[in-house]
């Protein structure tokens, strides 16, 4: 698959590395992908703030920003500039050092996590053989940053917000990792490049071998997305900065550039987690249809990434927010059991690989789907039914 277009970026990098003196070549070979990642994803962050506001606007029958530049394209520039020149207020009682370090501790680890994501064919910054382990290790520090922000601001609201954030992120780290384990088990390797490799090719010539098209893969993708939404504090789970309750949670005492850094960190976290979701379940940079193989693989990765971004915006525009204790119940009483069931279904899927009679694929699919649907309905009803939730009928006065 060595189409000329495909390897353009890789050959460009190799050509650049050759330009500089041999002593610095190793360093430059590492710096170029790092610079590329930071540049691309920072501008994607800017674009997403615009997409978010325009998307929310369209969901709500209005236009969204369209005054700054044509169709509001320069709005992110305006927001960025505003954030830069706004006064950076630090409360007198705040613990200055921790208050300053919190946003940095939020952004840097998330950028680390991008090192292992395969953006395209042979387009991965560092090809770890334990890539996913590194990703979760780097990604887990955001809780620390949030609590540093909450604690150091010495403010009641920020303390409440920080406590909520800790509880939420710890509870959703477990289902996030376990739902990722299903893809690792299926691909048999911790390296993201191998996982994407195992999803190459097509069933019957048209259905791509993505994990998402297997029962456990589809369930895994759903559970992974829910856990990812909670990890990145997005809408059904944006409790740490529940605007209508405790204003901006741990971000209450932040303003100016530190506030913008926090948002950069949050959005980068969102892209990283959805990037991982794409790599594990949606075939990373593989094309969905054989006819479109000629399109460079990077484009597919970013197309799927925009799909995830739109999903997050769509969720943000529709769903109300969960309460902290409901969040906990949902995580521990629904997500964790479902993820364990999903691991079991992956095992069943793996060991029924040897079925070769006619219609084996369909039968395996049915068995997997049934094994998942049963617990889903039972757990869902137990979570809701337990407190008699459900639509009610109303009578009228005589």
């Amino acid at each position: 698959m060595s189409q000329p277009l495909e390897q353009l970026l890789v050959r460009l990098k190799d050509w650049l590395v050759l330009q500089c003196p041999p002593a610095a070549q190793g360093l430059v070979a590492a710096l170029i992908p790092a610079a590329a990642i930071v540049a691309v994803f920072a501008s994607l962050f800017a674009l997403t703030t615009l997409l978010e506001r325009k998307g929310l606007g369209r969901l709500q029958n209005r236009l969204g920003p369209n005054r700054v530049g044509p169709f509001g394209v320069l709005q992110p520039l305006a927001d960025g500039l505003k954030m830069l020149i706004k006064e950076d207020i630090v409360p007198r009682d705040a613990d200055r050092l921790v208050h300053l370090l919190a946003p940095v501790a939020m952004v840097v680890p998330v950028l680390l996590a991008y090192a292992v994501l395969p953006f395209g064919q042979r387009l991965v910054a560092v090809n770890f053989d334990a890539g996913i382990l590194f990703f979760f290790a780097a990604g887990a520090t955001t809780e620390l940053a949030v609590f540093m922000a909450g604690w150091s601001s010495r403010n009641k609201y920020s303390l409440l917000g920080a406590m909520r954030a800790i509880a939420q992120m710890i509870s959703y780290e477990v289902p996030l990792i376990l739902s990722a384990m299903t893809a690792v088990m299926a691909a048999g390797s911790l390296s993201l490049v191998d996982i994407v490799g195992s999803q190459a090719g097509y069933h019957w010539g048209w259905l791509p071998r993505w994990h998402a098209f297997t029962p456990w893969g589809f369930a895994g993708l759903l559970l992974f997305t829910i856990a990812a939404t909670a990890e990145s504090n997005r809408t059904p789970f944006d409790i740490p900065e529940g605007e209508s309750e405790i204003i901006a949670g741990h971000l209450v005492e932040y303003s100016g550039f530190k506030y913008a850094l926090f948002f950069l960190g949050e959005y980068l976290g969102m892209f990283a987690v959805s990037g991982l979701g794409i790599t594990l379940f949606l075939g990373g940079w593989h094309a969905p249809v054989p006819a479109l193989e000629w399109v460079p693989s990077v484009a597919w990765f970013f197309a799927k990434l925009f799909g995830f971004i739109f999903l997050f915006i769509w969720l943000r525009g529709t769903l109300p927010r969960l309460r902290t204790d409901q969040l906990m119940n949902f995580a521990w009483k629904f997500m964790v059991p479902m993820v364990l069931v999903n691991l079991m279904v992956t095992a069943v899927w793996h060991f029924t690989r040897s079925w070769h009679f006619s219609g084996a694929g369909l039968w395996r699919w049915l068995v997997g789907a049934l094994l998942l649907a049963g617990p889903y309905l039972w757990l869902g009803r137990a979570l809701a039914g337990g407190r008699r939730f459900g639509p009610r009928s109303y009578h009228y006065a005589s």
Partner: protein
Amino acid sequence: MNPPPGLGIVKGLVETARNFVGSFHDPARLTTVQYPDERLPAKENARNFPFLVYDGPDSEKGLRCVACKICEKECPPQCIYIILERDANGKPQKHPRVFDLDISVCMSCQICVEVCPFDAIKMDTDYELSRSDRFGGLLLTKAELAKPNDYYRRIHPTEAQEVDARLEEERARAQAKAKPPAAAAKPAAPAQPAPA
């Protein structure tokens, strides 16, 4: 048997998706009016702040207001201030020398229009009234308040027709009454007889 869990959320998502897609083709689903470029046509009965109506070309003499101070008494927030015009030897004239209206206090309730027996004060529909000076700027004097009758006919067409018809008929009745005693042809009609 209530529906499988998660169906309610999916239905909600479908609803917002319909609005998202609808906002591109269905005008009912995109309600933004981009204000300075597009403007909603003012409703005919719309009212903002009062203005004084004058007939004929000259805003001083043609003013319908006779300074009877009924509107000043009836105005709930008391934002109208009238001083009667007196000629050299103090005989009260039939105009106001000063007619101030403080639009920072006025709440555009149009009670002055209702109680005015001479149709001298009507409600304007102009809402772009921002001023730089908070005190003096919002205190409109008689000159700023006076607007011609055809401006009134333009913003409130049907209402203006009725008012003009009534004034016309009153003027005709007054002239008919004034003509038999063949007094000097100064009709006692309250409004200035200048032909509209």
